[in-house]
Symmetry: D2
Subunit: 436 residues, 4 copies
């Protein structure tokens, strides 16, 4: 490829990226359409962030890692925003205290939108001016867009948590009545195991923590054909599942006692029937939908109760390797406010992508041979690697582009405010039977 051809390719890539930037950045703002400035400013717990903060932080990413590095003429929108909207990149300077993000009533909503526009204009200006950005810089822009999409999901999980704390049970977006679904019994898909490869290896974007692709040895195992459903989880509750220490990891049982868990987050009984707070308001729990908002501890206890276990990350990823990416997820700003009912049977495990994140029994750790990126961006994933568990597959509020077998999500084992659910696995030589 001669220099001109390469320039052309770069220019086309850059222009496409400008369009994609506008589209993705627009989706983030559209997610706030039904929210008030107060809704966007409040923080319901230290683990959650205000919607406004998500909007500003994703903008800060482009300002810090692209504009201020690549454009000598760029003027920062506000000299203090570098400090205010840094999440945890210590290399950029000490970040503002995470638990106090809800106190940042200034900048207000309009000013944050202005901040976004200021950065969008500068960024798309750079992108549309062929040759202004190197390949490496374009890669940072791409990373920034995926980062923004991660925050789209977090924005929805955090808004759900916030609204759930309000006794008025506000509706974020009305739910459509789901279509009737064929009831599907749980089946098991066998896998031979052996020496297999996991991790990102092909074309396309992936976060650094998905690399390098590497070999692992798996014993034969079976994976259930679908997610665990609300009705099944209710049977676990009815059977005293939350009161039987022998089913729980000891740390999990202690946490459950401290926090008073008696059901998944957002569930409560009204007139003898389980209801749940959803993005569509406070609604009866539907038996046939996948159970959601359970911690690793609850997922693990359920699996033990069912005579099964959770899959390891490698088992899950290996099983998902050739499964087409379909599911219920966030696309173009549209999503089903809550998880969808079980869809029709087809070959291979169902519901691997979208719907709910699936807890694995694997602690999050770097893959063998992993190298963090140099500089502040190296903090992006390299720092979180302790006391967190891997989740796979994405949820109903995950952006489409995050749905791939190698994607590694991770949260502490007691986290419940993510859209997280349960996939069962079992050893081949042992007949775990789900008693429901």
């Amino acid at each position: 490829m001669n220099a001109n051809a390469q320039t052309d390719r770069l220019a086309r890539g850059s222009e496409l990226l400008a369009r994609r930037t506008r589209a993705i950045r627009n989706v983030t703002e559209r997610l706030c359409d039904t929210l008030s400035p107060e809704d966007c400013a409040a923080q319901s717990m230290p683990d959650a962030s205000p919607a406004k903060w998500h909007l500003a932080h994703t903008t800060w990413f482009f300002e810090t890692f692209v504009l201020s590095r690549e454009d000598p003429d760029y003027t920062a929108f506000h000299p203090r925003f570098e400090y205010l909207f840094n999440s945890y990149y210590n290399a950029v300077g000490e970040p503002f205290a995470r638990a106090e993000r809800g106190l940042l009533t200034r900048p207000d909503w309009e000013e944050v939108l202005d901040y976004r526009r200021h950065v969008d204009v500068a960024l798309t200006g750079l992108l549309e001016d062929p040759g202004r950005l190197t390949d490496a810089a374009l890669d940072v822009v791409r990373l920034g867009l995926h980062h923004e999409q991660q925050h789209q999901e977090l924005l929805l999980t955090d808004v759900k948590h916030l609204l759930s704390r309000n006794p008025l049970a506000p509706v974020y977006r009305p739910t459509k009545e789901p279509a009737e679904a064929a009831i599907q019994s749980m089946a098991w898909h066998a896998h031979h195991g052996g020496l297999v490869e996991i991790g990102h290896g092909g074309e396309g974007f992936a976060f650094d923590n998905e690399s390098p692709r590497h070999r692992v040895h798996l014993e034969p195992f079976e994976l259930s054909s679908r997610l665990v459903r609300n009705g099944e989880f209710a049977a676990f509750i009815e059977d005293g599942g939350y009161e039987r220490p022998e089913l729980w990891l000891s740390e999990g049982f202690a946490r459950k006692q401290e926090e008073g868990w008696e059901a998944p987050l957002y569930w409560s009984k009204r007139e003898g029937r389980w209801h749940a707070f959803t993005l569509g308001g406070f609604l009866p729990v539907r038996s046939e939908e996948p159970v959601c908002h359970v911690s690793l501890f609850e997922a693990d206890a359920f699996a033990r109760w069912a005579g099964c276990r959770l899959p390891t990350e490698a088992e899950w990823e290996h099983a998902a390797a050739d499964v087409p990416v379909e599911g219920n997820f966030l696309e173009g700003g549209r999503f089903h406010p809550e998880v969808a009912p079980v869809r029709a049977v087809h070959r291979g495990p169902l519901q691997l992508f979208g719907d709910v994140w699936e807890w694995t029994s694997s602690a999050y750790a770097a893959y063998p041979g992993f190298r963090p990126a140099a500089g502040a961006l190296g903090e992006y994933n390299g720092k979180f690697m302790s006391s967190q568990m891997v989740l796979k597959g994405g949820s109903c509020v995950s952006p489409r582009s995050h749905l791939r077998a190698s994607y590694r999500n991770f949260f502490p084992p007691d986290a419940r405010w993510q859209f997280s659910g349960i996939r069962l696995a079992r050893d081949v030589d042992r007949g775990g039977v789900l008693p429901v």
Copy 2:
């Protein structure tokens, strides 16, 4: 007085009250003129409340204790507001968790204003319809207005605290440069003591905790002619005042250590000079202004350092009994954003009213013979009587109508976010000398 004359009197009183209601309710809203919806919704600590909550709670008071009791045709604005905006009246039902008021992003700002209008229309309608309200009900309205004015002050203290947590140091309202003040040395005013009377006894409104008027015996004492100033407090700091346990109450020293206090709340050093966050922004500390935002513990330690002590409530009230009520306070929605410099010398102690609340060495307790009002209103003051200390005299953000000698403010000894300062006292037979 015959029946007609009484009716006329009632009618006139009722009409005046309608006008006063409009005026006071308007002031509360005017205090938010420079704030955004986000500013009004956030809660910076459990002890503080969002401005929006203050607006709704004061409205709830009239709805609960006047409209729903006196007007059979009244329809509540929203069925859940009775729960949401109850502060602590257990007799009305369990209140919403105090520490989570900042999560109530709904109702939003406009809806709270609608709530206020809905109640104002109904309330002034009742007041302007002679004979609709009994004398007792009119008294509850009057109580409600004083209650609203208390919340005007709290609204300002809470907003100040919230804005102070923002690294952008937002300006609530620009400060005017104060006029030059004659420097005044501290003088002492002697009082004979003996059997004196304190407590509310005359005409005019007072809260129930100011009653009954009763006798106390006082030994001779002296009260300083003015408040302790920033410059004097800075000398205490320079002299190691925060590091010398012998100057502190033991509970106070422990608290100071835990919290890391090294100066009054809002003070910090910039380029070697004390600055303070104020409602007018982050400004240099002015030596001649009264020190503000100190806890009882700091006030007490300062007094000990100065060879003096704090006055008791009875000493303060006795000394203030015949002093004209003048000072720097909140009137008609206007106030000096921060405490004013010392004013010209005149006879009697200065600055007794307004400027800063003055800590006393008296624990808050019911007066001998005190009876709480019956019913939910009885919770208004009767429940707080432990581990709080009395403050007297009002502050620069206290409404004018709260400035009277018998007024009893009370806060825990470690509270610092109120506009609280220091008045010194000493026994007559002992020469405490302020070494500054």
Copy 3:
């Protein structure tokens, strides 16, 4: 008095003091006769101290404030004990962390007894050598003996708390069956009030915080003729007393909720009947004995439930001024392990002294004109004066010499491990009726 006569007087006083020193120091050790070295070393909560620590700390007092100051030949028993056994005298140096006293397994029990003997020999040697100690030094010895007696009571309260935490419910000392007591109904004793004097004023020892004697004005009041009994308190519980917020100080209700109080400390139900852990083991609660181990919050709620109130310190002291000091207390190392039943009726309120400490509604504060002693001893009482409430009269484990009307005990309003109970008072013009 000529010099010889004065020397003789001093010598006699000094010799008497030597005898008293031996007797009191011996009592402290006798209290540990039924305890093991482990019992004496453990600390059951930060507020309590190990018995061994009490033995060492009271010894430290004499070593620090008498021997090392008055005897140039005195050699400290161990160079680090000055640090280890200082309780809170900051002027002597930073004390060892209070909550970690149970970790001081060294020095062991025998070494602490050696420490006591070392100090006792040196101290009585000084006392028996006429003229070695000045009058002022003899006063410090006397203070040290009263201090030691305070710790005798604390040793017993702390041991009771420790043993209560052991599921084996160990018996400290078997209880004798109390004699049958005449049932006595509650009567009221009226007092005129007026300008009265309280505080220590006469001969005999008193702590500095009992001074100066001073005048206070009292409104007429009535004091109940006896303490509130277990049976009456059980009726309060039966009547939902612990669940009715309107009966409680708001801080008290919150504390009760946090701590899960449902009855006095040490009470629990077994087979439908109230039992209590006592120094004599786990025994049925006797209805006619004074209720014990209640906080100020519970005492205050009970009084409100009974239509009465707690007395103020001044009311109590005035009423007790001429009452002979009789009661159930600690004398010569002997005491009734638990509170005694009501004794026969006689004139004046009963059970003012001994039995249980009686909570008052008065916050602990310095008397008007109070001066702390100079130097480290000035920390003895001067530092505690915030957020504590006064108790009067002594308990069944108080040494006889602490039973006097002016004695001021003080504890935080949530303290329950002291032998604290309830005396009722009421205003004269109001008929509070105990509904039991």
Copy 4:
């Protein structure tokens, strides 16, 4: 083998076991020889247990799982000990609160020794009566002995922690001056990796969590020839290692800040030189000894600083598979109070066994195909599997019988009171260089 032969074999095994029981049980008691009853009763933190509790709990194990199941004539020593000395076996009943073990002053030291003798007599009686115990029961006895040895190590770690909190710095056992050691530079041992086997697979005792033996795939790696030394760790401190967030896991940096870590546990500077509290007292830190009492977080940060990483469990175990078990450990009740200096070079990595536990980067989890034992014994290891990291190789206070490549120790990543140190690893293609 005919029946007689089998009986003979059983009898011999049983008799040997009786001898081994006496020997091991005796060692546990000998470890307390230099301790007082108070030393043995105190608990310095919730994670640690009193020595007396270790003695009683290990006895409880034999009483609960052997005697009361196998011997119908056995009478429990005390009916409540089953509750008091249960550690965490929920299937046996709710255990006594872990954090309150220090409050169990009763049973006292002598009674616990009596308890031990009571159980020892019954147990060895059973063992010496051939045929009384089945093979399965003999296996439980063997498990109980290994369990007792685990507690021997814990007893020493817990005693060290307790004594360290005493400002008198008591000496548990005087340290002998170590022999001079040849200084050895760090070398690297390369391993090819590939599909290897780990886990217990051969003869001899192993805990259930070491099974099943299974295959894992390893990339090529290198392991350092020796442990990281104090001198090297001091260089990390000097280089600001504790202040550089980029070196730390984010959870680790946060923990460090909360706890104020600035050096390994027990280290402090005296006159500019590092000292450490040891079982031999407070001594200067010796540069050439392995660093000890670091958390996983500190180990991981050190490795990153050195341009290396920690080994995974599988790498460590694979490298150790054929290394002879030699080292500094607990044998027959004798041990070097502190870790030993580096010994002479020989082939293979040094110091794999004994000296200090070596943190790995592997989260503790069940091996593929793991089955917990049935019943209460199944709780033994099956419950701990979250948020803990694996340590390998044993320490200077580990019993000899715990030194094997497959042994899996596990502690939370912030634990520092175990004898835990640092082994470095690195990828083959990358030259991590220890800059010291």
